[in-house]
């Protein structure tokens, strides 16, 4: 298993650089890499024996594989595969596929790191590859969005580095478990880096513009997979260091409410989905032990939603209501939205129930409110009028990508069959019912535009200092 693991980690980088020289075969090789990740993660989940790989004379440099990483790696493989299928006939240059495969490999690496320095390298690698994908079109707007992303992520990672050296000073090792004996300010600095990278709470307000303005396949990849690279280490730290668990859970609840609060008022499809990502990451962190399954179902849904939203004629809900949308797209939207709202028989339902079973009493009210908010914001998609459009040509690749993602939702539903109890089903239906009622009676008519001043670049950097102060007091308390 050790050899297979090392080969699987290295292969994306080797293949990523070599497919640049094989323009005719690059798509197939890239797909093979995504398939390999899916196969590896299924093997990992099947064997269910956690194991670690330690660097010789290591200073804590460790790779750790368990159920949590298995779910995250499966999500990465499936979403990357779907994005590749979607791009199959889009005439993308070899450069695009190279970046995509390298990004895939770097994200895989974050999902098995258990030490601060491997994580730093993997996260910065993700930052560079994501920047190159965001700016792929070379338009001025994409350049600005990419620069802004790189700026925010790099500044946050500088704070993270200071934290990492403080941990080393305290325990002469870079392992996550060293956080238990590290000084308080080290924890605050490291968390600031991870919260910003993972788009959590107010540190995540850079995310809507970045994910909204990128092109369709890149948005799907960023929202489905890349932000989870910042969330996974937070969950891992919470599991390894019990003192950090309440802080991670608190940020989970905060970001779930903040994201949903923005999402219900949003009038733009892609921005709504991006704010919704901020909120769903909160559910992953609210119960770190079972966050893997939730992240998997969220990644599959978000990928499908972004790919479909990119096909629609407009990004404005109001215009979409006037024009109606083609029925084929509507079915995809309904299945994906039903899963994420928690309708039974799709994986979103079982993962929500599993998360709700594993939260503490003080979190339950806030997360139920967030669940209702989710139903409200996705009612916008579900209640769009439809039309049959005989002239519409939908490419088979789009169908391939969507079938892969939604099929994944049906299959992974079987991972937690204990969720199907009458009381749970009733609760899910009531939550969705309240959400849809609230949408029909109130939110459909509201025309509030929330101010976007907090998303300005200078404020995003300034907020880092506030979050750092807040974190410091939290850790001290």
């Amino acid at each position: 298993m050790d050899d297979i693991t090392i080969i699987w980690i290295l292969l994306p980088f080797v293949v990523g650089f070599s497919i640049y020289l094989l323009p005719r075969w690059n798509r197939y090789f890239a797909l093979a890499i995504a398939g390999l990740s899916v196969a590896y993660s299924i093997g990992l989940l099947w064997s269910l024996e956690p194991f670690t790989l330690e660097l010789l004379d290591s200073f804590g440099v460790t790779l750790m594989f368990d159920e949590l990483s298995g779910y995250f790696i499966l999500m990465n493989g499936l979403v990357t595969g779907a994005v590749l299928l979607y791009c199959f006939d889009k005439q993308k240059s070899p450069f695009f596929y190279t970046q995509l495969v390298i990004l895939h490999g770097a994200v895989n690496a974050t999902f098995c790191c258990a030490d601060l320095i491997s994580l730093y390298v993997a996260l910065e690698c993700i930052g560079i590859a994501a920047f190159l994908l965001i700016t792929y079109s070379r338009s001025d707007r994409s350049l600005w969005v990419g620069l802004r992303y790189l700026f925010i992520s790099n500044t946050a990672m500088l704070f993270y580095l200071i934290g990492a050296v403080l941990v080393y000073q305290a325990s002469y090792s870079f392992a996550f478990s060293g956080l238990a004996v590290a000084p308080k300010e080290a924890i605050a600095l490291i968390f600031l880096g991870l919260l910003t990278k993972g788009g959590i709470f107010v540190s995540g307000l850079w995310l809507p513009l970045t994910h909204g303005e990128s092109e369709t396949p890149v948005s799907a990849l960023l929202s489905g997979v890349v932000v989870k690279a910042g969330v996974f280490p937070l969950a891992r730290c919470a599991l390894l260091v019990p003192e950090l668990d309440p802080i991670v859970r608190l940020f989970g609840v905060g970001t779930a409410l903040l994201g949903v609060g923005y999402a219900v008022f949003e009038k733009d499809t892609k921005r709504m989905l991006a704010f919704h990502t901020v909120s769903q990451l909160g559910f992953v962190l609210a119960a770190p032990a079972v966050g893997g399954f939730y992240a998997l179902t969220h990644g599959l849904v978000k990928g499908a939603l972004f790919l479909t939203a990119g096909q629609l004629s407009s990004r404005n809900f109001k215009i979409l209501r006037e024009q109606s949308i083609p029925r084929a797209y509507w079915w995809v939207l309904v299945l994906a939205c039903a899963s994420i709202s928690g309708l039974p028989f799709l994986a979103g339902y079982s993962s929500k129930i599993l998360t709700m079973k594993n939260i503490l009493p003080w979190q339950s009210f806030a997360l139920n409110v967030a669940a209702v908010g989710t139903a409200i914001s996705f009612a916008k998609f579900i209640f769009l009028p439809t039309k049959t459009d005989p002239s519409l040509k939908i490419s088979p690749n789009f169908y391939g990508a969507v079938v892969l993602l939604l099929g994944g939702l049906f299959v992974t539903n079987s991972f937690y069959l204990e969720a199907y109890q009458p009381s749970n089903i009733l609760k899910a239906l009531v939550t969705i019912g309240i959400g849809w009622l609230a949408y029909g009676l109130i939110f459909q008519r509201i025309t509030v535009k929330l101010p976007r001043v907090v998303e300005q670049f200078e404020h995003l950097v300034g907020v880092m200092s506030l979050v750092l102060t807040g974190l410091f007091w939290l850790v001290l308390a």
């Binding site: 390298v121 620069l147 500044t155 580095l161 050296v165 080393y168 300005q456």
Partner: protein, 116 residues
Amino acid sequence: MSMSILEACVFAVIFIGFFGIIFKKNLIMKILAMDVMSTGVIAYYILVAARGGIFAPIVDAEQEAIAYADPVPQAVILTAIVIGFSIQALMLVGVMKLSRDNPTLETSEIEKSHTP
């Protein structure tokens, strides 16, 4: 004593860089400020490595009990220096491309025209 003064200077550099990112209006200046900040972080690693001594850590069998510097933080920060430098290069290329249509490179102006 001198160690703590050094440490204060290093953190001052980090703060100057951080405030530069916020208060400088020009995009190039912002990138330079970020570089100042990362220089501060690198210096802090060197400082931590020198806590136990400043001798290059090459073991000499003749001499016992020399205060060697810790090689690990130095090795780690090398990686970070390379990453930081490549990100700087990438960003400056991006700025060059942006400057065709925004010759002043004022962030607020660029932001205004690219926020939908």
